[in-house]
């Protein structure tokens, strides 16, 4: 019963994974057979961290991916909690409608989102700059300047994803028993104190899960870069996924591409492990 799923796992994930590890130690062109691969030890890793153009491009892409991921998570998590509270509150109507509207963007394919935002962001004719103009904010360069391009892609990612994480936050909020708030209120805690001492700690597991998903999603960003910026302007949005595909498949430098992929995976494993260790330490402190 396990065979079909594990068979697919072996052929399409484990074999490529092992090949990536093996190829990261080889000099090999993607256009030729594996028999042409030549063992060169950790030379690929030395190259991608060197000061040559290969190394500079890779390190810039790594940093771009890190910035993109950190900014996305730092924006998405607090917003999802804030929006979650807005949906969950019972003071005013409209919560459920808001949840539905926020979530609808998650259903729109990233390709369409990227295309629409590439036009929304247009510095001269785009509506975002028009609206900013009405309230007296000067026109921004958005995707057209290296300083703002990566941040603009983060914003469109947040716009698309935040609804999904809001749904998760609302699910977490409904798990918190009302009796706790009741008790805190009797003890004289104001809403702000109640948020910090009840809501946030009890949302811990939800936030941990959200953070892991948000990191894994952000690290894989590809569509908006491939579609609108092609890594530019001046490599400002050249993230690792785009760079790996460009080096490994388009430039056919399979060994170098694999070494980059292995590095990306190591960074991801270390970050996720650190996140869980942090969550566990916090848990232990509270117990």
């Amino acid at each position: 019963m396990l065979a079909p799923a594990t068979g697919l796992l072996a052929v399409f994930i484990f074999v490529p994974m092992l090949l990536t590890l093996w190829l990261s130690l080889q000099s090999w062109s993607t256009q030729t057979g594996f028999d042409t691969a030549r063992f060169i030890g950790v030379q690929n890793f030395i190259d991608i961290f060197s000061n040559s153009s290969i190394g500079r491009d890779f390190k810039a892409a790594l940093v771009n991916t890190l910035i993109y991921t950190v900014l996305s998570v730092v924006l998405i998590l607090p917003l999802s909690v804030a929006f979650g509270l807005l949906v969950h509150q019972k003071l005013a109507p409209g919560g459920i409608v808001l949840r539905t509207i926020l979530f609808s963007t998650y259903m729109v394919p990233m390709i369409a989102v990227a295309l629409v935002f590439s036009k929304l962001y247009s510095p001269t004719e785009g509506p975002i700059n028009q609206v900013l103009g009405w309230i007296g904010i000067p026109a921004q360069t958005w995707l057209s300047a290296p300083q703002t391009a990566l941040g603009s892609i983060v914003l469109l990612n947040v716009w698309q994803q935040v609804g999904y994480f809001t749904v998760l936050a609302v699910a977490g909020l409904t798990q918190i028993p009302d009796s706790l708030y009741e008790a805190a209120r009797i003890d004289g805690a104001n809403p702000v104190q109640r948020f910090w001492s009840i809501t946030l700690p009890l949302l811990g597991n939800t936030l941990l899960f959200s953070a892991v998903i948000a990191i894994i999603n952000s690290v894989q960003v590809f569509e908006p870069v491939a579609l609108i910026t092609q890594g530019g302007p001046v490599n400002a949005t050249n993230v690792l996924t785009y760079h790996i595909r460009r080096v490994g498949i388009e430039r056919a430098q399979g060994g170098l591409g694999s070494a980059m992929a292995v590095t990306l995976m190591l960074v991801l494993i270390v970050s996720i492990t650190a996140l869980f260790a942090f969550a566990r330490a916090r848990e232990a402190r509270r117990a």
């Binding site: 019963m1 396990l2 079909p4 799923a5 594990t6 697919l8 796992l9 052929v11 399409f12 994930i13 074999v15 490529p16 090949l19 990536t20 594996f34 807005l86 509150q89 019972k90 003071l91 005013a92 409209g94 919560g95 409608v97 808001l98 949840r99 509207i101 926020l102 979530f103 609808s104 259903m107 394919p109 990233m110 390709i111 369409a112 989102v113 295309l115 629409v116 036009k119 929304l120 004719e125 509506p127 716009w159 999904y164 749904v167 998760l168 699910a171 977490g172 894994i216 690290v219 894989q220 590809f222 491939a226 579609l227 996924t241 790996i244 595909r245 490994g248 498949i249 591409g257 995976m265």
Partner: protein, 280 residues
Amino acid sequence: MNNATTLLSRRQLDLVRIVWMLVTLVLALMTIFPLLWMLTISFKSQAEVFQPTFWPKAPSLKNFVYVLTEVPFLRYLFNSFVVSAAVTIIALWFHSMAGYALARLRFPGREAIFLAIFSTFLVSLPVIIVPLFIVVRSMGMLNSYAGLIVPAIFNAFGIFLLRQYYLALPRELEEAAIVDGASYWRIYWSVILPLSRPIIASLAILFFLANWNSFLWPLTATSDQSLWVVQVGIASFRSQYASSWNYIMAASTIVAAPMLLVFIVFQKQIMESIKTSGLK
């Protein structure tokens, strides 16, 4: 939080309500605006695109007709549908078997296999894309439906959720069948699968959504235009018509519309499936 009523006076409460609703309204508008804007432009003429009016003066379907006839978009939509449906059906079948085996059957190495499946959460497609491309090429599956479908089937998340679901099912349901001498296959088909309907429905939506939206793998696995899925088709369309906003927005609407329709129809189920995936 209904206790807030006792803390605030009537007037303060009304004020809080109004502020709340204003924030909600602004947020909803900011969320919906890009989609609405996409829709209105796709009904405008080329000349009208840059005029500041929001609603099209003479809405027409010309852009849609142009996009659908000039580029084989219907073919791309068909490919997307076939691939997403095939992946969803096969994945649900395979994964429910795997989930059941991991939840109920006792065999050596079960924990190791579970751990192996679980660890693939950390292996993302971009990391293995180069060797995966080579593996699929060496199997002769580049530029074929099989190449689009087969590598996309395995989904650790699906197996994990199904296993959790089966662990929570009461064992008594199967025990009667075991006493009757039914084999595991028999139990799977006639007891477990019918009981799985709710989780299968949730996962079906999630799988279909993920595959409809996938771009990186179809882009890598197909160069033959007749096999392009709609995501790849639209990417190439955009490079040809970069300055024709009305066509680009019409094309975006065509890709987004099926998913938004699915959302409107299955809203409740989708929300439930997202919630369960988050809580487990």
